[in-house]
């Protein structure tokens, strides 16, 4: 009896592992930053290299930080949605322009529209490393207290926005558009 049940048993166990393993997305690496303080940064602005954009500009706001680059195909894919979200203006969107060419990035924004309050220019990718960025586009949702609420890796879609971002934003803000200063 055992001799027949054993192979079947082994097969079932292996099949269970495969079903589970093959249905996972190997590209998805959970961020250790979730629930922790967003990394501090300070970088020159894309549009105005003389001025800087950093943690203190985002502090105290529920905001998005979108990692983008002109070499990134997925970024182009999600760009229209970002512009739309910027028009709705529920939360401010900040950009982190990652390992890009300034001229190309400025051209991209002027031809496709600029959804960002401002973009930081991370030419060497040092700030991106601090944020654990490994594949653009990535979108961080930042809480008012400066922690990372959520991170989406891959182009943003309406579905993801509705199911992952909006509920968290509504919970943080109470009402939309998100009030800029927390009501005392």
């Amino acid at each position: 009896m055992w001799r027949y049940l054993m192979p079947i048993g082994i097969f079932v166990v292996l099949a269970a592992f495969f079903v589970r393993g093959l249905s996972l997305n190997p590209r998805y690496v959970p961020s250790p930053l979730l629930g922790k303080d967003a990394p501090e940064f300070e970088l020159p602005r894309l549009k105005d290299p003389g001025a800087s954009l950093g943690s203190q500009d985002i502090e105290g706001k529920v905001a998005l930080l979108n990692v983008w680059a002109t070499w990134c195909v997925g970024c182009r894919q999600e760009h229209g949605l970002l512009v739309e979200l910027a028009e709705a203006n529920d939360v401010p969107i900040y950009g982190l322009n990652w390992k890009d060419d300034r001229g190309a990035a400025l051209g991209w924004l002027s031809s496709l529209g600029d959804p960002y309050v401002a973009s930081a220019f991370d030419e060497l990718g040092e700030v991106a490393i601090d944020w654990g960025v490994y594949g653009a586009p990535e979108t961080f949702l930042l809480a008012r207290d400066g922690t990372v609420l959520y991170k989406h890796i891959a182009p943003l879609t309406r579905e993801v926005w509705a199911s992952e971002f909006l509920p968290r934003i509504v919970e943080q803000c109470g009402s939309l558009p998100c009030p800029l200063v927390e009501s005392e």
Partner: protein, 144 residues
């Protein structure tokens, strides 16, 4: 003689892998260079996930190598660099993740499978031993 030529030819075939991947020259301190090489050979490139950052040409891998070089050049220990990477990218960045609640199955599986193998091996051995004592039928009789 021919053998020597073959060995030389084989070495030439693999010369490509000896090219350094970093644009910077190696550390002058050879111990430091060795520990740098050892470390980058155990850090996963998150873009091309089955390569180490020592093997990968991905821009992120070269950024990480640059960052690690800089840290080690300033005297950071292996533990400090590892901590730096894990804080940003999680345990997945390590080819040898620590033993903890999420990885016990990973580390335990080989031992577990080896134990199963040992049990099966012993049982088969015992069965064979008792069989040979009973003087089983000669093979040609079974075959016919």
């Amino acid at each position: 003689m021919i053998r020597r030529h073959l060995i030389a030819f084989g070495c030439v075939l693999f010369l490509g892998t000896a090219w350094a991947i970093d644009p910077e020259p190696p550390f002058e301190n050879s111990a430091l260079e060795a520990s740098y090489q050892a470390l980058i050979n155990e850090v996963r490139c998150l873009v091309c996930q089955n390569q180490t950052i020592a093997d990968s040409n991905a821009p992120l891998a070269s950024d990480l190598r640059r960052e690690i070089r800089q840290m080690m050049g300033e005297g950071a220990t292996r533990g400090e660099v590892t901590q730096f990477l894990v804080a940003r990218y999680g345990d997945f960045v390590l080819y040898r993740p620590p033993f903890q609640s999420t990885t016990w199955a990973l580390w335990g599986a080989p031992v577990f499978l080896l134990a199963i193998g040992a049990v099966v091996f012993v049982r088969i051995l015992r069965a064979r031993m008792s069989q040979s004592l009973e003087e089983s039928e000669p093979l040609d009789e079974i075959a016919s």
